[in-house]
Symmetry: C2
Subunit: 237 residues, 2 copies
DNA sequence: TAGTGATAACTGGCGTGCCAGTTCTGGTAG
DNA sequence: CTACCAGAACTGGCACGCCAGTTATCACTA
């Protein structure tokens, strides 16, 4: 029971940005914060490591995983495979009610993104909120297939990027006005092939931009740490 | 170190059929067998549970997961998504050497299946050996993409079924003579679309048969356990 | 014989504590 | 100031042992 609680709380903290990539996860400190012993915390961390959310080096600390550009790239490849099939299955077999709900969800999601684009400045809290709606939209498609194993795989792949994407702040004002509404229309009214192709374009759409931002960020951070390696290493957090 | 060892050994034992679906995994017994304490074993089991290979109920025992028909079905859906994309990427970007190697691997794999079909009787050891070649063939396609995250996802989905499939013994003599050679030819010489469609057909090929066998097996086992529930429950192992 | 129930054996969850290895800190020498 | 290094502080891996809850056993009853 306590192990489950530790797992869920840590997972949530990573996903909502409370524990950003690179944040240290000390077994003892977390155990104290959650009012339990170190054992269930260690088990939770071990499971999170299995999901790829966390990285630990024996006796040298555990931190929230910092993705490499290659891993971001890989995540997009994986998602293209999963979500393209998800779209195909949706177009093949979703019922009328599911199609209508998807169109409505796309409407809400686009509104949220457009509102984000009109904000004066970027805040992670707002970004996190909209990304949660975004993930819900895609999960609505995946879950309509009624195949739990498949929907779970889609969710895991989304969750990985969901964490990583916080380290960049996209140009929200440049996103297409009808970004998801057009996608939803293809899924709801198009053939399976059209739905799959629409989703493929959708997944690929921001891949290049995100990758480029990540690489720039990684170069910058490498340079930062090289600069401080002269006199002394900086305490990471 | 010991935890890693426990994890790998248990994983291997599940995959090669030493621990078939339903086999009990007692923390203390395994710890004794592997000459370590219960902690690393518990951690390994926890991670295996995260991968879906094992199922544990608090204070009532842990066993190797017995798949339901719905999960088998879901596994095929997931694999269709992953492997279809895998095939597409292979056709798009594999180099000449990789294509030649794939054709050769298909040749070997078909020979192994044909040999299995000529065997007088089914033995699990032989089946396991051929299935390992089978999985290696598909991983050769996935790894050619050079996308680790994606190849790992393909492997995980394969591994799940790899365990479950042992509970049925297919009609090996009815398998197509050139089952994988034709697939490999499509991947090595066809367009990305042709490759994807060939893989789709390949994945779907035995899905129906496997599912039917599983359902029949499940019904039979349910009936068995209902019969012995009259006088006394049978010790499961 | 079949059914029942007390109980012994066993299960996974977890608290405590030690260990060897890594990282951080502050004092010292140049 | 900078470079260095010894020791303090902290890290994750693991052993041990207890606990509450589940399951198997077997004498006993009808």
């Amino acid at each position: 029971m306590r192990g489950e609680e530790a797992f869920e709380r840590l997972r949530m903290a990573i996903l909502d940005g409370t524990l950003p990539p690179g944040a240290p996860l000390s077994r003892r400190r977390l155990a104290e914060e959650m009012a339990m012993s170190a054992v269930p915390v260690a088990d939770a961390i071990s499971r999170l490591e299995g999901e790829g959310l966390v990285e630990s080096r024996a006796r040298a600390g555990t931190r929230v995983k910092i993705a490499t550009a290659a891993e971001i790239q890989g995540n997009y490849v994986l998602r293209e495979a999963l979500e393209t099939h998800s779209a195909r299955l949706f177009a093949e077999s979703a019922d009328g009610r599911q199609r209508l709900r998807l169109l409505a969800a796309a409407e809400r999601l686009d509104r949220a993104y457009n509102a984000l684009g009109r904000q004066q400045q970027y805040t992670q809290a707002l970004h996190a909120k909209v990304e949660r709606i975004h993930i819900a939209f895609h999960m609505q498609i995946a879950r309509a297939t009624k195949v739990a194993l498949f929907a779970d795989a889609v969710e895991r792949s989304r969750v990985l990027l969901f964490n990583w994407i916080f380290t960049v702040s996209p140009d929200f004002e440049k996103l297409p006005e009808r970004w998801h509404r057009d996608l939803a229309a293809s899924l709801a009214h198009g053939s399976p092939e059209e739905a799959a192709e629409a989703m493929r374009a959708h997944v690929r759409y921001r891949q290049g931009e995100v990758l480029e931002r990540f690489e720039r960020l990684a170069r910058q951070q490498a340079q930062d740490s090289r600069m401080v390696r002269g006199p002394r290493r900086r305490p990471l957090k």
